[in-house]
């Protein structure tokens, strides 16, 4: 083996520092790979370990027996386990190793002036931003930022990220939802125009994940170990993060020993609220929207024939009444429905009815979108650019996306998919712009639920805390 075959060490170290990868994810030729192993620059560990009767996938932390299966492996010619839990990221098997970088650690850039954002924070935002900076400087372990929908969470992060980049720290902004990653990337790139940023999600163009500032779905963190000095987890209460143990497992492993983890949420789950109440989790509360106006309080509208109407893919009668008397008919309209089928099937009916009513002109477009929709990104963009006037959606648009001037209707707000957090988030889509800081939110239901009452209650409470 000859040394001159080796690419510059700092290149390899930038590429692999903080990563935890299978051999097939390391695109190096075998001789070089073996050389790095013998130098102990790459260290292997078993991808799946067994202890007595328990197994563990070392990539995703899975220990559930039914999420492992046996395979007669054509590579090692033995029958052994593989993990089904994280198989979408490439299969981990018992005959395979995960590799992590133990060579010289990469020195990240100490950016002098990384932030190119020209905007200004409000006093309330400034206070929270300062708290975040302090947490990062003091290497505090955790901080939860509880900020209402529309508080301008992302901007509040800028001083903290700036500070971290000035100190040569590596920062990750993670969120459970790919839509949110796609929304955040251009905003962050604009705010930190000279900093290399990569956005990672299933199907993203960036694959390497080697930048100093990473925006990623929490799933992508399965490929990291001890990588980040600052970990920001946005929408900590969102599906699937709060329901899938492997995601907190991965997020935690992706942090360095001295890492500061910042959680962002508008609707913390019970568990976090309890930790806050017991003073086990430091937090900062931001009860006011950046434009200084209160959150729109949803109205409940009882519809006696709601289930029957929806079963025929028709909108509830009360909705057709309401749409005639909207305070500001020029606002776009977001309609949340509980299922993909309803989103798809109601589209044509609603279009026909609204056109008949004369409340809808043929130039204005109506469309529907859901998680399995291939044109999802494009439709969300078209709605933002006001090419679509009415958008029927499932809960995929409940959070993370901002449209300046919309009214919001929920059909069958009593449905199970609309839990308290979802209802608060959905209500938070209205009144986001300083030019139109209010908006109507209507829960169309056939029998109110605990979730609806709690959601309205918590919105009122936040307004009260905000001094309204």
């Amino acid at each position: 083996m000859q040394d001159y075959e080796m690419p510059p060490l700092h290149e390899l170290s930038a590429r692999f520092s903080g990563k935890l990868l299978l051999r097939k994810e390391i695109p190096l030729e075998e001789t070089l790979f073996q050389q790095l192993l013998s130098l102990n620059y790459l260290t292997p560990k078993k991808a799946i370990t067994r202890k007595n009767f328990t197994y563990q996938c070392e990539r995703c932390g899975n220990q559930k027996h039914y999420l492992f299966a046996n395979i007669p492996c054509g590579i090692c010619k033995q029958r052994h386990l593989y993990c089904r839990k994280c198989i979408e990221m490439g299969r981990t098997s018992e005959c395979e190793m995960l590799y992590y970088w133990t060579g010289p650690q990469f020195t990240w850039i100490f950016h002098e002036n990384p932030c190119s954002w020209q905007g200004e924070l409000t006093d309330v935002q400034q206070k929270a931003a300062q708290r975040i900076v302090t947490a990062i400087r003091n290497k505090e372990r955790e901080l939860l930022v509880w900020a209402v929908c529309g508080a301008g969470k992302t901007e509040m992060l800028f001083p903290g990220i700036t500070d971290a980049l000035q100190m040569g720290k590596r920062v990750c902004l993670a969120t459970p939802r790919a839509d949110v990653v796609r929304e955040l990337q251009p905003r962050l790139q604009k705010a930190f125009s000279k900093v290399a940023i990569q956005a990672l999600y299933g199907g993203s163009k960036d694959k390497q994940g080697t930048a100093q500032l990473i925006i990623a779905t929490t799933h992508q963190l399965l490929r990291y170990e001890a990588a980040f000095d600052v970990m920001i987890i946005d929408e900590i209460d969102a599906f699937p993060y709060h329901a899938d143990e492997s995601l907190p497992f991965a997020a935690n492993r992706a942090t360095k020993a001295q890492c500061t983890t910042i959680y962002l949420t508008a609707t913390p789950r019970k568990r976090h609220q309890m930790l806050i109440n017991r003073k086990k989790l430091p937090h900062v509360f931001v009860p006011v929207r950046f434009h200084g106006q209160p959150l729109p309080v949803p109205k409940k509208t009882m519809c006696h024939s709601l289930k029957r109407d929806l079963s025929k893919n028709l909108p509830p009668a009360a909705f057709l009444k309401w749409i005639k008397v909207r305070q500001n008919p020029s606002r776009q309209l977001l309609i949340f429905v509980p299922s993909i089928t309803l989103a798809e099937n109601m589209k044509d009916h609603l279009y026909r009815i609204l056109k008949l009513q004369g409340h809808f002109h043929s130039i204005e477009k109506l469309d529907s979108v859901h998680a399995a929709d291939r044109d999802r990104e494009q439709k969300v963009r078209a709605f933002r650019e006001k090419e679509i006037f009415i958008l029927i959606t499932t809960t995929i648009l409940e959070r993370g996306v901002t449209f300046p001037s919309v009214d919001v209707a929920i059909f069958d707000a009593g449905h199970d998919v609309f839990d308290e957090a979802a209802l608060v988030q959905i209500s938070g889509r209205a009144g986001r712009s300083p030019d139109d800081p209010t908006g109507e939110v209507v829960f169309f239901h056939q029998g109110k639920t605990e979730a609806m009452i709690q959601a309205i209650d918590s919105i009122k409470k936040m307004n009260k805390r905000g001094g309204f």
Binding site: K24, I71, G74, G90, R91
Partner: protein, 226 residues
């Protein structure tokens, strides 16, 4: 038991028939099973495609080129709907080996329905993967499907490495670019096994080779009609 596809608990239905028989539940829940689409109704006699013609236009093309028409008929079980596409993607491309179990009872039933009369001496031959593919995936999905069948399996076909795209027309390609090779002669009828029937070219390549090496008749069973 937990559904192999959606991980939800399967609640077995207790009926008189399964009380008295040795009841072996399928590893898939009813909701997931209902999303699979078994091919039924009028189908092409030769390739299983759903059509109201006795023989579909594709198969007529094979017919017109008699030398290429080397399989008696193909039988496919499922339509290639979204659910099946997702299942195949996870099973074959992601390598979730155990998902093959979803298809076991269907394969056995289909065999008994369509090929039982061959049982005595038919041999199941899976369509092979190239070495490179095998190294990537660790298993051959066609082998697994063949294993489910109540007949002897023989892996006598091999696939050449490094298949290349050529600019020949369909006819030339079929006549010349046979991706398979065979290591022994065979004097028994063969049931070729594969996961998807798309154009039928792959199966006919395999069948041609088998026939050149002594095989009296070649049939095919494929999980999906693409």
């Amino acid at each position: 038991m937990i559904c192999l596809w959606c991980y939800r608990e399967i609640i077995p239905e207790i009926t008189w028939s399964n009380l008295f028989q040795l009841y072996k539940p399928k590893p898939i829940c009813l909701d997931c099973e209902n999303e699979l689409e078994l091919l039924q109704g009028e189908r092409c006699r030769k390739c299983s495609r759903q059509t109201n013609k006795e023989i579909c236009s594709d198969c007529l093309w094979w017919d017109d080129n008699g030398a290429l028409d080397t399989i008696e008929f193909n039988y496919s079980l499922f339509a290639y709907n979204t659910m099946m596409q997702n299942m195949i993607a996870k099973w074959k491309y992601r390598g979730d080996y155990i998902l093959g179990e979803l298809f076991k009872t269907y394969m056995v039933e289909a065999f008994n329905k369509k090929f039982a009369n061959l049982k005595k001496d038919v041999i199941a031959v899976p369509i092979p993967l190239s070495n490179a593919r095998m190294k990537e995936r660790g298993f051959n999905q066609a082998n697994l499907l063949a294993e489910f069948l109540p007949v002897i399996r023989a892996d006598i076909l091999l696939r050449k490495d490094g298949e290349k795209q050529s600019k020949k027309n369909r006819m030339e390609r079929i006549l010349t670019d046979n991706p398979f090779f065979i290591q022994q002669t065979i004097n028994k009828p063969v049931l070729l096994v594969d996961d998807i029937y798309t154009t039928g070219t792959t199966l006919r390549h395999a069948a041609t080779l088998l026939k050149e090496n002594g095989c009296p008749a070649v049939y095919a069973i494929t999980l999906v009609r693409g």
